[in-house]
Each structure stands twice: as structure tokens, then as C-alpha cells.
Assembly symmetry: C2
Homo-oligomer: 205 residues x 2
Amino acid sequence: MTPPPLAAQAQQPADDRRRQILSAARACFARAGFHGASMGQVCAEAQMSPGALYRYFPSKDAIIEAIAEEERAGAVACLEHLRGPGTIADRLVAMAMDYLASARDPESGGLMIEICSESLRNTAVGARFCELETLVRDRMRAAVEDARERGEVPRDLDLDIALTMIFSFGDGLMMRLQFERDVALEAIEPHLRRILRALLRMDEV
Amino acid sequence: MTPPPLAAQAQQPADDRRRQILSAARACFARAGFHGASMGQVCAEAQMSPGALYRYFPSKDAIIEAIAEEERAGAVACLEHLRGPGTIADRLVAMAMDYLASARDPESGGLMIEICSESLRNTAVGARFCELETLVRDRMRAAVEDARERGEVPRDLDLDIALTMIFSFGDGLMMRLQFERDVALEAIEPHLRRILRALLRMDEV
């Protein structure tokens, strides 16, 4: 077995440290909000000294930016399902199941409510996450438009209302799966498919 | 014209003052959270002196309790639609439309996210609102069970999953209608009916 190159070895602990900090920050933000949580709390949660932590992130804003970037990467990965096999409903279900699996992680799920709260209050943090939502919504809109071209959904379907309903459902499920930890994702899947087909009026074509 | 009885006259300004305080408190809580907002901020928002405000509410907890009571009364009023005419889907749509109309009010809608956040964090405030949700969920469950007895929905419908999906959708719409202020409630109604019918598998009976 060949050992990993030296550069990669040096990189590894730094990446681990970075992840450790972001994971601690997510837990703190979910608990106390982006504004309520202090850098001191993040240090305590990450079990690092302020000096060590500041070497990775010079400010709370830098941490929030890194979390937004992680969320963006996660969303882009979920969006890949829109190129998958099956009908538009199948693709959206695959995407939703991937997204909802992350809701089972208390860190991501808890943070999601804080993000909504920031967006409603129109803060800088809120605006950062609104950009991400716009990206996801534009890609989903394009996928449903394609499906309309292919005749999978009725020509007169109001895409904007349909997308608003789909996003509402996604937000709501994401939150609720945090509370109802005993609901199995597999139990939700057939309902999701039924709802998406009804929402996109797929039985009318 | 007979003037209102003296007792009612004396009562009126006190009720107005109470409402004024609760309305100011809702705005403050929606902005800064139940914990973040101070009694001083509520006084400033209500344009009242602390002395005057404390005559109505001795503590922030007393204000939160009064808001929870208002929410309970609003929920009970919405639940009346479950006794209304039509199928179970019609009744649930009527209930949802009434509930969502209140989401258009920034005070109630903004507060809803704070309530979710408290529930996730398992605080005393969160527990107070969880009780309310249990009340609503029990009544909705009974209404869907009745519909199952009447043969409106399939006998093998999993009521718990269906209710989880309905609540998710309600939460999500409530939040999203806060952001998307240009979406008309009337545009949502036919989609809601379609989704509820699909979710309750009403076309399978």
C-alpha cells in the first residue's frame, strides 16, 4: 500500500479541525440562534482555545459563510436527482428523500428554523440563505418546465404556485421530522409521490 | 339609543389596553424571540410606562401565557370547520384557509417560527404550544377517523402518517406565506384540496 502524498497528510488534520468547528458552531447556532451564540460558546463546544479557533475562522461571520457554503454544496448535490431516471415526480421524490435524510441530523434540522427566522427578519444571514433558495428554486422550475415540454404535466399548470406548494411542504417536513423522530422516512415516500403527482396534476395528462 | 351598562364601559378600556400590550409583545417576540425581547422593549412598542404595563401583566411569562391562550382560542375557532358541510377534504380545506389567513398577519406568522424554535429547544414556552398542537391534532384525527367510518377514505389509511404530512404542509405554508406576500390564498385553495384528497387517498374508495 502506498501512503497518501505528504501534502494530503498535512491537509487532513486542518480539514478535520475545520469540520469540527463548523459542527460545533451548527450545534450552538441551532441552540441559541446565529446572534445569540457567541464565539466563546463555539470554542467551548469545539473544545478549542479561541486562539486555535481564530486561526481557522477570524469571525462569526466567516463561520456562517462557511456553513452557508456547506448548505449550498448539499443543495447542489440534492439537485443532481433532477437529472435522474423516471418521471418528474420520481425525480423530485428522490431529491426530497435525500434532502429530508439530512433533516434527521439535529444539527442541520435545528439550524433550518434559525435560517427561516433570519430570512423573515431580513438580516444579512437571511439574505445569504435566500440566494441559495433562489438557486434551488430556479433549477427545480427548469426541471418542471422540461417535464411540461415532455407532456408529463398539463400545459396550463401554474409553475409558480406549484413550486410554492412544493417548497412549503419541504420546509414543513424538514421541521416536523425534527419533532417526530419516530416517523420513518420510508413511510413518507409513497405519500410524497402521491402529493407531488396531485400537485403537478400528472393524472390529467 | 341606550348607552352600554356602566360595568361594560369601565371594562372596555382595560380590554383595549390588554390587547394593545399583547399586540406589541407579539411584534417584539417575532423580531427578537421570546427570550431575546425584554419587557422594556414591549413597553416601548406599546408606548406605555413599565408601571402601567405591569398592572396588566406582572411578568413576561404572564404575557406569553396570554398569547398562548389567544392562539388556543384561534385554533379552537378554526377547528369548528371540522363540523362543517362537505367531505373531510372540504372541511380540512376550510380549516386550513382560515388558519392560513392569519399567516398573512406578520404578527402571528412571524411568531409561529419562534414557537417552532422554542418547541425544538424543548423550553417551557415550547411545551405550552406543544399542548395546543396535541389538542388540534387529536381533533383532526377524530374527524379523519369519522370520515373513515363513513367510507370517505380507505380503511387501511395510516392516520398518523397522513396527519404528520398534513401538519407539515400547514407549518410550511404558514411560514412561506410570510415570505411570498404576493401569493393569493385563493390561488392555493384548489391545490390544497387536490393534495388533501391525494393524501387521504379519497379517489381509492
